[in-house]
Each structure stands twice: as structure tokens, then as C-alpha cells.
Symmetry: C2
Subunit: 332 residues, 2 copies
């Protein structure tokens, strides 16, 4: 665990794509005339909400577990997560028929806890304010001898998430579309770095824009500083899935040469995006998963892009949360 | 208006496909491992919720308006509808830059009224229990000399809706899948007849199953009787979009030789389908639009199909309605 963390490359994404083929859903690219009209450009949406477990996290989890040596797999896997990574690891472990224990905050959304249990994982709750989830995970690993599947700070997790970006480029090219910009929700930076690597290799003209919630804008701070820099990470946010104050070593190592800055959105912008997704797009997108859409909505007036991509990264919200967003922003 | 109504054929669907190309969205076919596992077969979903205006109704409306002679178009179009046909006609008329007046019940879902107005149509409200919408439409037509765009009893409306079925066959074939059965929400029978014509021509082994709400099961009654037969059509139903007590002459004329029976689902089954669509599929499907899914969920145990198709016909529900369905059926 103390070896330096390897920085992922595009070759890792290509390898991951081969491993997850036939297991991960190849989510489509969606286009809506109404959204194109609203933003004055073509908008291609990658709905990872349709991925196994309702978020892109399955890609990284399956890729990472697939490279655990056969001899080690029986000891199982351990992960800590507020919910989407939890479900990704639980579902991937179930496909490999190995035990999974997930350390989850007791205040995680009900649907994420239920989802994680539904894939057969054992859930170990902790108090987000009083306990250290990494310490709990370390104890579990000492007991079982299992493998830790990190949420983002692992080159094979980044590579797995990057397959979503690779598909996005391929699908946009099949439509004859060159994307000027791609908006990606950003927490610890796993999918951001993966998507950045994929576009740098396959569509280098495309600018990849991470979008972070207010007070959890560690990627933007790090990119501007040129080194990993923590955001305060204290404010309440409806984006439960993006509350990492600082990008991981592996994601930032890949992202720093490829990206220049990130956008920040608050709860109002996230609610507006969730409401628009529900009302106009007929999609259930959780607040964190709608950060890319929020970023695109807020900045469309500032650019003259002709085509953009948006990753809708997750849809695991309780109905009440979606309802609150729709009520807060009745007309998208 | 007194000429006998022409019965549509597959050739009408082929003609419609040419007219709507580039205007209607080619909605994808979606597949979810979780839904396949739940139903024990491959399930391919056709989400017409992503169609322009949030339902398949745009297809028929655009096709019908496109064949109004140029000299007549300026007088505009009139339609009566509880909401989805209203929006389809309003949006299609806007694309042709002609005026549209829609006769809508005052108790139509808010989102459907707002949607209809947002496309620039004039809305003429009426009281569903006291007034006759056809009489109101006739008066408007007498005043304007415009064209009535019927919700389902018109061969070119049926043909337009049938393009959804034609795409479904083509997309399933591209995946190498032969569908054993296709479940279609059924109100006045427009999309049911269109889908039946498309499958009869292109995939005759597939059984097309209309699914109707309790007390509005006119298609099933008519198919069993061999002639158009009205259902009571009095009960309250959450499927506001399927409350036609009897299939139209054009749809039934096409359907009677191709279909043998229909399924009936109640509010509980519709709520379960809406809840499952929200929670598992991350899709916003209105109660009527979920009738096909409800039919598939309720009858899966009775058949040994290896692959089925489901048309998700509309997604124009107010958030409160979706919420009520999810609350009524917490675990799909």
C-alpha cells in the first residue's frame, strides 16, 4: 500500500475496455431537439445513469476487480463509498462471485444503501462526522486479507471510468460530430481523468471541463496551483456523490497535463439541472450526476461551441430528492 | 368529414417514415441487465419519452400535418387532446409555421398544458364532464376553415405512430434479437395499430400485446367481439393518456386482423411500473406510458419468451404524480 501510485495512461483505458466488454452496458448518446434549441448548439448526452448500478462506477470497479489475482479473489474486496462506488463494487464482486464489504456513511441516500445490499454486499455503517472510513476499511482488510478497491485513487479505477469517455468519442464520431467541449461531474477526479485521457488520445481538439460543487472544488484549485490542493469541503451540498475535497494522486497525475481549470456550481444550479433532466429529458439524474449538465447550462452563453458532450454520471437519487429539486426550480 | 375512414396499411408507415425523417427523434433501444434478470429474458425498451414533446404523438401529428395541402395550411390546425397529442400537434404545427388551437380538458396535467403552450399553440379549455370536445373543435373549424388533426382515428396518424414500431423491429434486428412479444400502451389504438402493422410486415413471428387501463379496455373488448365495442370508461384512472373507451375505426380496422386480445392493468400495476422505471431504469414514464411495462411485469411468469420489446410511450407527468407512484410502491 505504500508503493507510489502509478499514473494511468490511455493504454490502461484500452485494456480496461477489453476487460469490461460484455459486462458493462454500452450506454447510448442521446440528443434532444429541445435541449439543442435551449443551448443553441448540438448537445450529446452520455447517460451513465443507465449503466449497471446506475452510475459509471461499475466500469472502474469491474476493471479493478478483474485484475485481482485468482489466488487473492476468495478473500474478497473492501470499499468505502457514500453510495455509487459502493454499488459498483458490490455488483462487480457479485459477477466474480466474491464477497464484498462496503463501508458506508449512515446518512447515505436510502436508495444507495438498499442498492448496495441488493447486490449481496455486506454494509458496514460509520458516522461521517466522528469516524474515519479509511481506518475502518484498514481494520476490515487486516481481518480478511482482502483487496481494497479505492473509489478513485487507483490507475485501474481511472482507466475503467475512462471507457465511458472512449465510448463517447467513438459514438460522437459515428454521428459525424466533433465535440468542442465535454462537461464531466468531478468528485475525486476518477472519471474526469479517465475522460480527459480518452479525449486527449482520440479527440484532442475537445476541451474537457470538470464541474465541481461549491466548497468541494479541489480539482479546480489543484489545476490552478499545479499541485494537489484541498478545498474546504465543509459546506452542505446536495451533490452527495461529489464530496471529495481533493483529487487523488492517480487522477490528478493524469489530469494536470491535460486540463486547465474546472467549473463550480452550487445547489441552485444543480437543482435546476436535475429539474430540467426530469422535465425536459425524462431522465432521473442525481444532483452530483447532473453537475456536468449544470455547468453546460450555466456557461452556454459564454461560448460559441457548435457541439458539446455532457456526462450524466449517476441517477441514484431517492424520489424525494428529485422532487425537492423540481419543486425548487419549477420551470427549467 | 363524412367519407368512410380509410384503413391504414404498412405502405402508409413506409411513407410516413420518409416524411418524418430528420424531424422525429430516432429513439434508441435500451437494455438493462437488472431488468433482464428480473424478467428472466432480454427486454428491449423503446423510450418514446425521448421523442420530441415527450411522447410518440409527434410522429403521427407531423405526418398528418405534412400532407395538408399547401393552400390549406395557412388556416391552421385544430386538435382535441388531454395532453400528449396536444403537444405533438403543437410542436409539429410550429415546425410548419402554421397556427394550432388545442381543445384541452381543464384538469389535464399541468406539465401537458404548459408544454402545449410552450410550442406556441392556443389552448381552449373545456370541462371533461360537462362539455363535448368534438363539438368545440367543430365550432373552431367552422370559424377558421382549418384542418382537424384527430388523436387516433386517421390512417395517417396511425401510420406516423407506426414508425416507432418499424424502428423497433429494425433496431432489434441490428442487435440480432427476434422479439417474441411486444407490449404497447393502448388508448384509442393509434400506436397499437401502427406497431401491429409494422411487426406484421417485418417481424410476423412477434406477438403484439396492447395494454389498457381498467375500465378503458375497449381494444380488448373489440378484439374479442370482432367489432368496435366500447368499455365503460367511467372509472378514475391514473393513466390520463389512455382514457379512450373505444378504439377508432382506422386503428381497429388495421388491428382486428393482426391482434387477438389485450391485457388490462389497474392503477396499482401502473404505479409499480412507474416506480420501477424511476428507480431501476432512471426513466420518467407517465402512468399511461408505463402500461406496456406494467403488462410485461405482470405476465412474465406466464410465458417462456426469450426476448420481449416494450414501448414506453410517454413521459409527460408532473413530478408529484411520479412521486405518488414511487411512494405507493417503494420497492419495485
Amino acid at each position: 500500500m505504500n508503493a507510489p501510485i502509478r499514473i494511468p495512461t490511455f493504454a490502461d483505458i484500452q485494456a480496461a475496455a477489453g476487460r469490461i466488454a460484455g459486462q458493462a452496458v454500452v450506454t447510448p448518446l442521446l440528443e434532444y431537439p429541445a435541449l439543442n434549441a435551449r443551448l443553441g448548439r448540438r448537445v450529446l448526452l452520455k447517460p451513465e445513469i443507465f449503466q449497471r448500478t446506475g452510475s459509471f462506477k461499475f466500469r472502474g470497479a469491474y476493471n479493478r476487480i478483474s485484475i485481482i489475482p485468482e489466488s487473492e479473489r476468495g478473500k474478497g474486496v473492501v470499499a468505502f463509498s457514500s453510495g455509487n462506488h459502493a454499488q459498483g463494487v458490490a455488483a462487480a464482486a457479485a459477477l466474480f462471485k466474491i464477497p464484498a464489504t462496503i463501508v458506508m456513511p449512515i446518512d447515505a441516500p436510502r436508495s444507495k444503501i438498499d442498492g448496495t445490499k441488493s447486490y449481496g454486499a455486506k454494509v458496514n455503517f460509520y458516522d461521517r462526522r466522528k469516524e474515519d472510513r479509511e481506518a475502518i476499511a484498514a481494520k476490515l482488510l487486516a481481518e480478511t486479507g482482502g483487496t481494497l478497491v479505492r473509489p478513485f485513487d487507483d490507475p485501474d479505477i481511472v482507466a475503467g471510468q475512462g471507457t465511458a469517455g472512449m465510448e463517447m468519442v467513438q459514438q460522437a464520431k459515428a454521428l459525424g460530430v466533433m465535440l468542442d467541449r465535454v462537461f464531466v461531474p468531478c468528485g475525486g477526479g476518477g472519471v474526469t481523468a479517465g475522460v480527459a485521457l480518452a479525449f486527449a488520445a482520440l479527440s484532442p481538439q475537445t476541451k474537457v471541463v470538470p464541474v465541481e460543487p461549491t466548497d468541494y472544488d479541489g480539482m479546480g484549485r489543484s489545476l490552478r496551483a499545479g499541485e494537489r490542493t484541498a478545498a474546504p469541503g465543509k459546506a452542505a451540498s446536495i451533490a452527495d456523490s461529489l464530496q471529495a475535497p481533493m483529487p487523488g494522486v492517480a487522477p490528478f497525475g493524469a489530469a494536470k497535463a491535460l486540463l486547465s481549470d474546472a467549473l463550480v456550481v452550487g445547489d441552485t444550479e444543480l437543482s435546476r439541472a436535475v429539474s430540467l433532466a426530469f422535465r425536459m429529458l425524462k431522465l432521473v439524474v442525481e444532483p452530483g450526476g447532473a453537475a456536468g449538465l449544470a455547468g453546460a447550462l450555466e456557461t452556454a452563453g459564454q461560448t460559441s461551441d457548435s457541439a458539446i458532450g455532457i456526462l450524466l454520471s449517476g441517477g441514484n437519487a431517492d424520489p424525494e430528492t428529485i422532487m425537492q429539486c423540481c419543486a425548487a426550480v419549477p420551470l427549467p
